[in-house]
Subunit: 306 residues, 2 copies
């Protein structure tokens, strides 16, 4: 029942006044995604963005920006190389590529270091690992940037527990009930949502409001549960903390926050210990931060019989 | 400069009144170890035990007990299968096989699950994983036991820091100075030691006192440092805590303790948080415990440029 929830993620910025990503035909995305063994399951659009729920995570396409996340053992880098080649590096101003440490890294068909070696020289940049190899760590590549990127925030939750977690693992679930349990309509009333419930379980949801997005992916598997939340909502403009709310609903044993040009306050987080922290100035325009938390109490581990 | 310090470990018990392991010729151990690509670098004997420092960790041979640990990408299971076949399962009362989660598991040529599948049916038992896949975890196989095994205790330290750690990484070191920095002669005055200093660095030491042993293996590499300590010293008979002393000397960011029929008090440990704990009753005779600690302060991570 193991499924690798940890995502690989690419963000591309198109030069202003250059090509429009939204003008590309749907066939282009089908073809690009097929290289990563991912397909489009559902879509949602507004005036700013086309959002796709994929068989493995999500794709967001704005006029001049692309965000693509894939989980499992997808070869995202194949899709990335295809997209960059088709668009042409002249039209691309910035690339960011990230990978979270996997639960079972030996099952992955590529490593981060191999992936970034395949990016074109025209998009040269710097690669980092944040965090120790023996615990949560995060790989990050940023091409040499010439502008401030839009802020974004990620919350990665591990080992969810409690009533909502139990529901997400049970045999008969509904999207409506999951959405209700996650309280999304009350937390984000302006948003429009598009979701997909996987068999036998697993849940993905994209949300849009003007140029803002949120995407949540739930891998509820008992011994390797993982939930990712990613958004470009401005936490200063929106004083409520959607991350705190979801942490209290899903009650993970540990979690990471990742911010690009955004500080993620831990006000309202469940009682916790902050084990590790990193603030990284990528260049004069952009800053990255990473924090690793566990619940405050010592976790009583159950030995898993193999 | 990466080296996988995490060990695989086998313990074999020979039935009382059966064959003597110490009577086996040295050639037998050479042949067995060559299957794991390990070789004997040095040896030390007393009335109870033959202790060997290996190119990858250590081998201890008592009359009716064997303890073999190997690190790196060794195929310990090949050696184990060879030894069991040569000795014959009729002479073996108990087998315990353990693997610590590796820093870079994708570089390993075998997985724990594959390893234990190769153990003979005559030595059937139970296999467990203790700890989550995304952080420190420990694999454990114990054959069905009919007796209480001798107690043992392990301390696994990650990311050592400070003056002693710096010395262990510097270009010119001496065994004498390392032994002095670890304070082994004053901590364990009755013990006789045998050590080996690796090039460019890395240090292994075995110690014996009557039927008691201690073995310490140091992988000091800056970004993936790891130190293991294993002993059958009885912490109740010996009220001082060698683990506390070594923790204070080597100052790791995080550490695990593992006890078999032995509780490992954390009195004197550096200021810490106990993140996770497991007590596992293997059967009516034997109990296993695991604890995962980090230092009390939030660790400020440095981004490693790749």
């Amino acid at each position: 029942m193991f499924f690798e929830g940890s995502e690989k993620k690419i963000e591309l910025q198109i030069k202003p006044g250059s090509i429009s990503l939204r003008a590309l035909p749907l066939q282009f995305w089908h073809q690009a995604l097929s290289l990563a063994n991912a397909e489009i399951l559902s879509n949602l659009s507004n005036d700013y963005c086309d959002a796709y729920v994929l068989s493995e995570s999500s794709l967001f396409v704005w006029e001049h920006k692309l965000l693509l996340m894939t989980c499992g053992n997808t070869r995202l880098i194949d899709t990335v190389v295809f997209i960059i080649e088709k668009l042409g590096t002249d039209h691309i101003s910035d690339v960011s590529y990230q990978r979270k440490s996997e639960f079972l890294s030996h099952l992955q068909s590529t490593r981060f270091e191999d992936d970034i070696d395949r990016l074109p020289i025209a998009l040269a940049g710097k690669a980092y690992r944040i965090g120790h190899l023996d615990t949560h760590h995060h790989y990050l590549f940023h091409s040499n940037q010439t502008q401030q990127l839009q802020g974004s925030a990620s919350l990665l939750m591990y080992h969810i527990k409690g009533e909502v977690a139990d529901y997400l693992r049970q045999a008969s679930q509904t999207s409506t009930q999951i959405r209700r349990l996650l309280a999304l309509d009350s937390l984000l009333p302006e948003f429009t949502f598009d979701d997909h419930l996987f068999e036998p379980f697993g849940y993905s949801i994209n949300g849009l409001f003007e140029d803002k997005f949120i995407t949540i992916h739930i891998t509820p598997q008992e011994r390797s549960s993982y939930v990712s939340v990613e958004t470009n909502l401005d936490f200063i403009q929106h004083p409520f903390n959607i991350f705190s709310a979801l942490l209290n609903i899903l009650n993970p044993s540990s979690w990471d926050t990742i911010g690009l040009n955004m500080q993620i306050a831990n006000l309202g987080f469940p009682s916790h210990r902050r084990l590790a922290s990193c603030d990284l100035q990528l260049n004069q325009f952009n800053g990255f931060n990473y924090n690793h938390y566990t619940q405050a109490d010592t976790e009583i581990l159950l030995a898993e019989v193999l």
